[in-house]
C-alpha cells in the first residue's frame, strides 16, 4: 500500500513545462512579497489603523518613555542585583558547583601528554602531576606529591598523596602508584625519538632513573644536578598516565582520553575540539591545602572548552556570557581592548607582570664573521622608541633570561649594553662593508602571530639608520617555522622576530634557550662542534659559529647545575652581558611590562599574570581554589 502510494510519485513523469511553471510560480510569489515589502508611490497613504496607532503613540509619549525608562531601570537593577550577589557570594567565601566556560584558539592535536603540547589544556585538568609551580610565588606545590626532599644534588624523593586513584575509565580506577609515575616519565624519551613528541627534551633529559621502594614513594635520580628540576616537574607535559591504557592503545594515547587521574575527566569530545569535562569521582583532593590546590576536590563542577579560531567570535562569546575568559593567543588582550572592556557589566580585567619573551634572531651563519655589522644592526634600532611606538609606552627592555628571573639585569644596564646610536651604527656598517656583504639588502619574516608592528618598526629603523633595504617576507605559520628552522645555508631570512609564550615553568629554559646552541640558538644556526646535531652539519660551517656559541653554551651549562642562588645569578648575569656584547646571534626585544586578561565577574580566585596562562604549570586551569559566584 505504502509502496503504491509513493510509487505513483516516482513513476510520474515530470515535464519541463511543469518545472518552469513551478519555478515561475515560486518566483512570482516571492516577487509579490518583495513588491509588497518595497512598496512604491501608491503606498504613500498610511492605512487608517496604522495612522491611528501612530497618532495614539504620539499622544502618549510619556507612557512609552516611561516604559523604556522602566526597562532600563529593571535592567540596571538586574545588573546591580547580579553584581551585589557576586559581591555577597565573594564575601561569603568559596562555594562548590557550576560550569566554567572557556575557549581556546588551538584545536586538539592528540591527547597524549607525553607527545602533544599544542592546545593541550586537557592535560592540565585530566592528569595528575607530581608538582605545580607558581611563578608569582616562585614556589612548587605538591599535587600528586604530598612532600619531597632532596637528600643529595642528584636525588629527589617524593612521598605521594595517599588517596591517588585513576578515574573510573582508566585502569578501573585503581590506586596510582610510584610505578605509574616511573612508567609515565620513562615514556618521554621514547615518545620523543619514536613518536615525534613535541615535548621539549629539556624537561626530561635530566632524568637518569627511578627508585620505587614502595607504592607511595618515588625516587628520581638525575644525570646532572639540574637546578630547574623542581619547576620542570610541574610541567603540564609530565602527566601521570595509566600504563594499562597506554599499552592497550598501541603505546600512545593520541586518540585516547581519560587515561589519568586528574581532577576532571572528559565527558564529551566534539568535532573541532568542543570538549566538556566533568568531575573525576575518584579524585580525593590533597591531604592539606597548599597554594592553589585545595584540601578537597576543586570547587568547580565542570568545564566547557570551545575551540574558537576567529578572534571576533571569541570576543562575542565572551561578551554574551558564553565564555568566562577572554585572552590573547600570545600574552593577553591589548591595552585598548582592556580599556574598552573595563567598563562592561560583569567583566573584570585582571593584570599583572608579563612573562612573555621576544627576540630578534639573526641567521648566525650569515652574521657570525662580521662583528661590526652585527653591532651596527643592534645600534641601528631605537629600542626605547620600540617601547613607545609598538608597545604604546607599556614596555620594558627585554633581557636574555626573560623579565621574571631574579638574575635579570637592571633596565639601566640593559640600556647601556643595548644602545641606540644611529651615527655609530652607520660608521660600523660602512667600515664592515655591509653593502658588499649584503648587496641585496636584508630579508625578514613578517608573521601575523609574532608582532607585525614590531617587525615593521625594526625594519624601518634599519633602513633609515643603515641605509640598507629590508625586504619583508609575509609568511604563514608553517612557512615561518620551516624558514626559521631551515638548515644552515638555506635560510631565506637575515633576521626575524621570535616570540616565546610557553613553559613558564622553567625560567632558564623560557628565554635563554633562544641564545644557546643546544636550544633555539642552534635552530637559528648557532652551532658548536659539541652540539648533538653537529654530525649533520659540515664542520667548516660550524667553524664559523663555534667560537661565538661555545662560551654561551659553557656559561649556560654551568648555571644550570649551580644550586647556590647567588652564584647562579652571577653566572646568569655574566651570560647576559656576554650575549649583549657579542651581538650574536639573538637580540632581546622589549616586551610589555604588564598583560591583561578579561574575566567574567562570576569567576573568583583567578590566578593573575604571570601565572594566569594555562600553558604554565599553575595556570588557571589547574587552580583548584577557583570558584563561581553564581554556582
Amino acid at each position: 500500500m505504502a509502496e503504491a502510494y509513493w510509487g505513483k510519485y516516482w513513476r510520474r513523469r515530470i515535464s519541463r513545462r511543469r518545472v518552469l511553471a513551478g519555478s515561475a510560480a515560486v518566483a512570482a510569489g516571492a516577487a509579490g512579497l518583495v513588491a509588497v515589502g518595497c512598496g512604491d508611490d501608491d503606498d504613500d497613504e498610511p492605512p487608517a489603523a496604522t495612522a491611528a496607532a501612530t497618532e495614539a503613540a504620539a499622544d502618549e509619549p510619556d507612557e512609552s518613555a516611561a516604559t523604556e525608562a522602566a526597562a532600563t531601570e529593571a535592567a540596571a537593577a538586574t545588573e546591580a542585583a547580579a553584581t551585589e550577589a557576586a559581591t555577597q557570594a565573594a564575601a561569603a567565601g568559596p562555594r562548590a558547583g557550576g560550569t566554567m566556560k572557556v575557549q581556546r584558539a588551538f584545536s586538539d592535536t592528540g591527547y597524549d601528554p607525553a607527545i602533544t603540547i599544542t592546545g593541550y589544556q586537557w592535560a592540565a585538568i585530566t592528569y595528575n602531576h607530581l608538582l605545580g609551580y607558581s611563578l608569582i610565588e616562585d614556589e612548587a606545590w605538591g599535587d600528586a606529591a604530598a612532600s619531597w626532599e632532596q637528600p643529595d644534588p642528584l636525588t629527589i624523593v617524593f612521598n605521594l598523596e595517599p588517596n591517588l586513584r585513576f578515574n573510573p575509565e582508566a585502569a578501573d580506577g585503581r590506586p596510582i602508584t610510584s610505578q605509574d609515575i616511573a612508567y609515565s616519565f620513562a615514556r618521554l624519551p621514547a615518545a620523543f625519538t619514536d613518536l615525534a613528541s613535541e615535548v621539549n627534551p629539556l624537561q626530561f633529559a635530566f632524568m637518569a632513573g627511578f627508585d620505587m621502594p614502595d607504592a607511595t614513594t618515588f625516587g628520581l635520580q638525575m644525570r646532572y644536578p639540574w637546578v630547574s628540576a623542581i619547576p620542570s616537574l610541574g610541567s603540564t607535559s609530565l602527566g601521570i598516565v595509566a600504563p594499562e591504557v597506554v599499552e592497550a592503545n598501541g603505546g600512545n594515547l593520541t586518540q585516547t582520553v581519560n587515561a589519568g587521574g586528574g581532577a576532571y575527566m572528559f565527558e564529551s569530545r566534539g568535532l573541532d575540539g568542543f570538549n566538556s569535562y566533568k568531575r573525576n569521582p575518584n579524585y580525593a583532593g590533597h591531604t592539606t591545602a597548599r597554594g592553589r590546590f585545595t584540601k578537597d576536590p576543586p570547587y568547580i563542577d565542570a568545564w566547557e572548552d570551545a575551540h574558537i579560531t576567529d578572534p571576533a567570535a571569541a570576543e562575542a562569546r565572551f561578551l554574551a556570557g558564553d565564555a568566562d575568559i577572554l585572552t590573547g593567543i600570545v600574552g593577553g588582550i591589548d591595552a585598548i581592548k582592556a580599556d574598552q572592556l573595563r567598563g562592561e557589566d560583569g567583566v573584570n580585567i585582571i593584570s599583572g607582570p608579563t612573562n612573555t619573551h621576544l627576540v630578534m634572531a639573526l641567521d648566525a651563519l650569515k652574521w657570525a664573521r662580521f662583528p661590526q655589522l652585527r653591532e651596527a644592526l643592534s645600534l641601528a634600532v631605537d629600542w626605547d622608541g620600540y617601547i613607545d611606538v609598538v608597545l604604546d609606552g607599556n614596555g620594558i627592555r627585554g633581557a636574555p633570561v626573560g623579565p621574571r628571573f631574579p638574575a635579570v639585569l637592571s633596565q639601566e644596564e640593559i640600556r647601556q649594553l643595548q644602545q641606540f646610536d644611529p651615527e655609530r651604527a652607520r660608521q660600523l656598517w660602512e667600515a664592515g662593508g655591509g653593502d658588499v656583504v649584503f648587496p641585496d639588502g636584508l630579508t625578514t619574516l613578517l608573521a601575523t602571530f609574532t608582532d607585525t608592528r614590531g617587525t615593521q618598526f625594526i625594519a624601518q629603523s634599519i633602513e633609515e639608520n643603515l641605509g640598507v633595504r629590508v625586504k619583508l617576507e609575509p609568511v604563514d605559520f608553517a612557512t615561518y617555522v620551516s624558514s626559521l628552522t631551515a638548515p644552515p645555508g638555506s635560510k631565506i631570512w637575515h633576521f626575524a622576530l621570535v616570540v616565546e609564550n610557553s613553559l613558564s615553568t622553567i625560567p632558564d629554559y623560557n628565554a635563554l634557550t633562544h641564545y644557546v646552541p643546544t636550544g633555539y640558538g642552534g635552530a637559528f644556526g648557532l652551532f658548536t662542534h659539541e652540539h648533538p646535531q653537529a654530525a649533520l652539519i659540515p664542520p667548516e660551517v660550524i667553524d664559523i659559529t663555534h667560537d661565538i656559541g661555545k662560551p654561551i653554551q659553557d656559561l649556560y651549562n654551568a648555571q644550570s647545575v649551580t644550586h647556590d642562588p647567588e652564584q647562579r645569578n652571577g653566572l646568569l648575569q655574566q651570560l647576559q652581558r656576554l650575549i649583549l656584547t657579542q651581538f650574536c646571534c639573538t637580540f632581546p626585544v622589549p616586551v610589555n611590562a604588564t598583560e591583561q586578561h578579561a574575566v567574567r565577574t562570576r569567576v573568583m580566585n583567578v590566578p593573575p599574570p604571570p601565572d594566569f596562562k594555562d600553558n604554565g604549570s599553575m595556570g588557571y586551569r589547574r587552580a583548584q581554589n577557583m570558584w563561581l559566584a553564581d554556582a
Partner: protein, 315 residues
Amino acid sequence: MQAYIIRRLLLVPFTLILISIIVFIFMRAVPGDAADVRCGAAGNFDQQCFDVVREELGLNENKVNQYFKWLGDIVLRGDFGYSLSQRAHINEELGKRIWNTAQIGLLSIAFTLLIGIPVGAVSAVRSGTMSDYVLRFLAVMGLSVPNFWIATLVVIFPAVWWGTRVAPDWVGWEEPLTHLQILAIPAFIIALAGGGTIARIVRSSMLEVLRSDQVRTARAKGLRESVVVSRHVFRPSMIALFTIIGLQFSLVLGGSVIMESIFNIPGMGLWVISAVGERDFMIIQAVVVVFATWFLLITLLVDVAYAWVDPRIRY
C-alpha cells in the same frame, strides 16, 4: 543526451586526476611540511624528530610514489589517508564534515534563489522606477560588500550592543530550531553575493523577454499584465538562470570556508584552514578532491538540466 552525459561522466575522473596532481604538486612546492611544524614549532631541532614524522607520513618517499600511493588508496580503498596534525584517519571526520558543509551549501543556494529571483523579477517589471533603482542598488551592495565583513559584524555587534549572540555554538539536529538558526545566518550571508548576481541576470533576461514580440502579442490579445508576466515572461526568462546556478556552487564552497571559521561550524572549511596552517597535506588534498568532485557533479547536473528545460539546446 545520454551520450553527452556518459561523455561528461567519463571526463570527471580525468578532471579529478588533473586537479589532484595540481594540488599535490602545489602543496609540496610551498615551504614547510607537517614535520617542520610538528618538530620545529616545539623547538625540537632534532633530526630524528623530522625523520620520524616524515617516515610516518611517507614524505621521505619519492614524490611520484607518494602521489600514486595516495591516489591508489583513494581509488582502491576509499582511504584519504592519515592526518598527522589530528593524529587520526581522515575518512571518519571527513564524513561528518561533508554533511555539515553541505547543509550550509544547500541552504545558501536556496537563499540565493529566494533573494535573487524575486529581486530581479520586480526590478525588471518595474524597470526605471524607484523600486528598480533601490533593488539594483541592493543587488550591487550584496555583490560588492565582502561577506566575511558582514559576518564579523553579525557576530560581534549583537554581543557588544545587547550581550547576546545571534549564532550560537554548533549543536546538530538534536536541537532542530537552534541548528537551523546556526545554519541560516551564514547561509544567508553567503547568499547575498549570489543573490545579487542572480537578481541582475534575472532582470536583464526578463527585460529582454518583456521587449519581445511574443509579449507584445500577448498584451495585444488583451491578457492581464499579471498573466503576461507570469506566463509569457517568467518561463522563458528562467532558462538563463540555469546557466549561472552551477557557478553559484563555487561561490558557496568558497564562502563556506570563511563562514565556518567565523561561525565556528565544524565543516570542511574550518578543517582546511587549520590544515593549511599545520601543512597537513592529507587533509588539504582530501578536501580539495571532495570539493572538486562536488563541483564537477553539480556542474554536470546543471548542464543536463539546462538542456532539459530548453528543448532548443542539443549536445
